[in-house]
């Protein structure tokens, strides 16, 4: 639609004016809207500003929601609240429970965690050794890490 004031530009704003229960609708372009120094525009701004504010605030929460998407299956927090179903192991991030598991632990899972932690420990040790230029000791640690990584891959 063409702006009803300048009759040139594309109208992107719709103004509705209510006077004595009579409705007037005017379609205008942004240029004309900005040129209008009319009281009406002032009141529109008053109206629009809080709307923009809420919009951007909503945008912020949208961002937070986006962060709460399960990285593995893509389920959002909102979907979780409706489905109350885990689609994959990483949906566990949505669980909000005060009660904590107290029971069986998978054995190989425990061993794997142990190996992963051990590798991490040795890797940081390796960095220190290299920084201290203790290359002979570092070589030994490096081989140990290599072995450990081999084990954890074989296990899988």
């Amino acid at each position: 639609m063409i702006c009803q004031i300048c009759k040139k530009n594309e109208a992107t704003i719709c103004m509705v004016k209510m006077t004595n229960n009579k409705k007037d609708t005017v379609y205008i372009c942004p240029t004309c809207a900005s040129q209008m120094e009319d009281q009406l525009i002032g009141s529109i701004n008053q109206l629009l500003n809080p709307m923009f504010e809420t919009f951007f605030k909503a945008g912020n929460t949208l961002e937070i929601d986006n962060n709460q998407i399960c990285p593995t299956c893509g389920q959002t927090k909102r979907e979780w609240q409706e489905s109350n179903t885990l689609n994959c192991k990483d949906c566990a991030q949505f669980i909000d429970s005060e009660v904590v598991h107290n029971g069986k632990i998978p054995k190989n899972n425990k061993e794997e965690l142990y190996v992963i932690n051990l590798i991490k420990e040795k890797e940081s040790h390796l960095k220190i050794l290299i920084a201290e230029e203790k290359y002979e000791e570092a070589a030994i640690i490096r081989d140990e890490i290599k072995d450990l990584k081999g084990v954890s891959i074989d296990d899988k």
């Binding site: 885990l86 689609n87 994959c88 192991k89 669980i95 029971g103 069986k104 632990i105 899972n109």
Partner: protein, 351 residues
């Protein structure tokens, strides 16, 4: 193998006069797969095939004994229904059987459901009140599976399951009981209330709304997180023992106060089975319930009747069970006509 009656019906366990069976179920998922309801049919089939390989490996068989994989897609509708009636698969699985499977041990007391609500549901059944052995066996299969699959496990929330009500231990214990006196005297309401406040549920054995159907009930734990498996088990066992005592007391009172009325309804139930021409599952099971009560109270019948015979009817009286017993498929009308013969043959009524 699919036509055999499961071992949990043999009435050889503890408290077999009141407790029919004990069951343990462990819910487990594989950590690098989406959970079943989000898996593609192709991925589900892959998991079934991988289970097929797992159970045929010697290291797995060493732990669990020989097991057999059945793909539900490859079974007849009747066979699937019979699995449901034997409590091996769920109603959900019967309705949506595509790309799902069940692994069965030789005597069907141990089984693994594949791609039900969770990737694996390990189930172990025992006759009578015996949650302890059921847990030991389920645990053994769990340990064996764990060597082949890395489970979805969370440090804080334990074993992860599709439905958050199963997270933590993923364990569900359930005990099937015959409670005719408590259901006659209305004592079940109080029991239901007190069980609920302790985190246990009682429901009709044949599913929602089947209360009173043969007076068979199932009591199970509601919560799975925060308490250790054996503590949940001991808690349930304690409650079951209390229910047993109450049921026995009600039976005594009933027979003391209404001796002739009780004898009358029990012998009429026997007569009903002896002379009926048409019989529904429900009517049959209600008669079996009364005869079972009579056997426990020492009433004698034309032929000796034991709990094993009565238990087998829990499965055989149902539609698929009946058809499997006679070895042919039947319409509902034919089933009603054949059911009296089944009851008479199993209970040796009328020679």
């Amino acid at each position: 193998m699919i036509n055999k009656l499961p071992n949990w019906l043999n009435a050889k366990g503890n408290e077999s006069d009141i407790v029919i069976s004990s069951r343990v179920r462990l819910a487990r998922n594989v950590d690098n797969l989406l959970f079943p309801h989000r898996m593609t049919a192709e991925d589900k089939d892959k998991l079934i095939d991988s289970i097929g390989e797992t159970i045929s490996s010697s290291s797995f068989r060493k732990e669990t004994g020989e097991m057999k994989l059945l793909k539900l897609d490859e079974l007849s509708g009747l066979d699937r229904e019979f699995l449901l009636e034997k409590h091996l698969i769920s109603l959900n699985m019967l309705d949506n059987y595509h790309n799902r499977g069940i692994v069965l041990g030789l005597d069907e007391s141990i089984s693994i459901l594949i791609n039900e609500e969770d990737h694996f549901r390990i189930q172990s059944f025992f006759s009578g009140l015996n949650l302890k052995d059921a847990l030991v066996i389920a645990d053994r299969v769990d340990d064996a599976l764990e060597k082949f699959y890395s489970y979805a496990y969370h440090e804080k929330y334990g074993y992860l399951t599709s439905c958050p009500t199963n997270i933590g231990t993923g364990v569900r214990f359930s005990v099937m009981m015959h409670l005719p006196a408590l259901s006659m005297t209305g004592g079940l309401k109080d029991i239901q209330r007190s069980l609920k406040s302790d985190g246990f549920v009682i429901r009709g054995f044949f599913g929602e709304g089947s209360e009173g159907y043969g007076s068979l009930y199932q009591i199970s734990n509601q919560f799975t997180i925060g308490v250790k498996e054996d503590e949940i088990m001991l808690g349930l066992e304690k409650r079951i023992n209390e229910v047993i005592v109450k049921e026995k007391k009600s039976r005594e009172t009933l027979f003391k106060q209404k001796t002739y009325e009780m004898q009358d309804i029990i012998y009429r139930a026997y007569g009903n089975l002896k002379y009926s021409v048409l019989l529904t599952t429900k009517e049959g099971m209600n008669n079996v319930s009364l005869i079972r009560l009579g056997v426990e109270r020492g009433l004698t019948f034309d032929e000796h009747i034991d709990y094993k015979q009565l238990n087998s009817l829990i499965v055989l009286a149902q539609p698929a069970g009946l058809q499997s017993y006679f070895g042919k498929s039947m319409s509902p009308e034919e089933r009603e006509r054949h059911r009296p013969r089944l009851f008479k043959e199993i209970l040796k009524i009328g020679g």
